[in-house]
């Protein structure tokens, strides 16, 4: 079993209304040190395989095809052995 952790974030330059709203919210709550917030997605996939290089290929493909929207998002991921 492998665990894929996938991070999907907006490409730089793409407007992030969520991040802005959260950033303004935090500032209004008094957290003045926060200079910028970006919000993305985090996914955990359990894979029924132990073959890392196979998994890598598949996860990358899933990201490209479904999990990230290549128009505005980019992704990265890590693979871990699952206990």
């Amino acid at each position: 079993m492998l665990l894929a952790k996938i991070y999907v974030t907006l490409k730089p330059g793409v407007l992030d209304p969520q991040g802005e709203a959260v950033g303004n919210g935090l500032k209004a709550m008094g957290y003045k040190d926060v200079t910028s917030v970006r919000v993305g997605k985090y996914l955990e996939l359990q894979l029924d395989t132990d073959d890392k290089s196979y998994a890598e290929e598949k996860v990358d493909e899933m990201c490209r095809r479904l999990l990230a929207n290549p128009v505005i998002e980019k992704y990265r991921y890590t693979l871990e052995e699952q206990r």
């Binding site: 209304p17 969520q18 709203a21 959260v22 919210g25 209004a28 709550m29 919000v39």
Partner: protein, 232 residues
Amino acid sequence: MKFGVIVFPGSNCDQDVYHVISEVLGKPVDYLWHGDTEVSGYDCLVLPGGFSYGDYLRSGAIARFAPIMPAVIDFANSGGLVLGICNGFQILLEAGLLPGAMRRNDCLQFRCQYTNLRVENDETPFTNLFKKGQVISIPIAHGEGNYYADEDTLKELEANKQIVFRYCDPSGEVTKEANPNGSVGNIAGIINRQGNVLGMMPHPERCAEVILGGTAGRELFASIVEWWERRK
């Protein structure tokens, strides 16, 4: 009796609630700005539906920290009537005035439709003109109305008759098919332990006039007035 409707940035049912209170009920009502810090002089506060702060992180999460909220919390804790509708309900949950949390609808889509509700508690200030077990029809319009509470909380809600509305079929049966969003126990509305703070996902202000196709919502607002007058 005087109502206050709280306007958050992104509220969009504020004018609808205001209209029902002033035009349908003929009661005095003011808008209260989220940036204010005072709510004195009001007998019932309404947190209306909408998308406060775009609902961008979680619905209601940012609004819960609006400058007016400490006053709302004090008002509620000292027994003042508070009604949260849709986004208003979500804000009350985030603020801890009501237990539980909202998740995305289990269908993962926004839903706008009439729902049947079974009145589970007719002894609240908001429902005294209904009868327990009565089925009323009130529309919903939300993407995050999938109510969640852990087992212990649910037991407590049950035990204290805090569950006020459940989604049901036209005959009053609480079924999976009648649940539009996946809420635990088909819960559509709950009240706090003290019985003065109601949160509900359906929109009573949208069915308070015959021309709009329903009047159950008018009964809900009229209950508040009725309760207030009786109390005096």
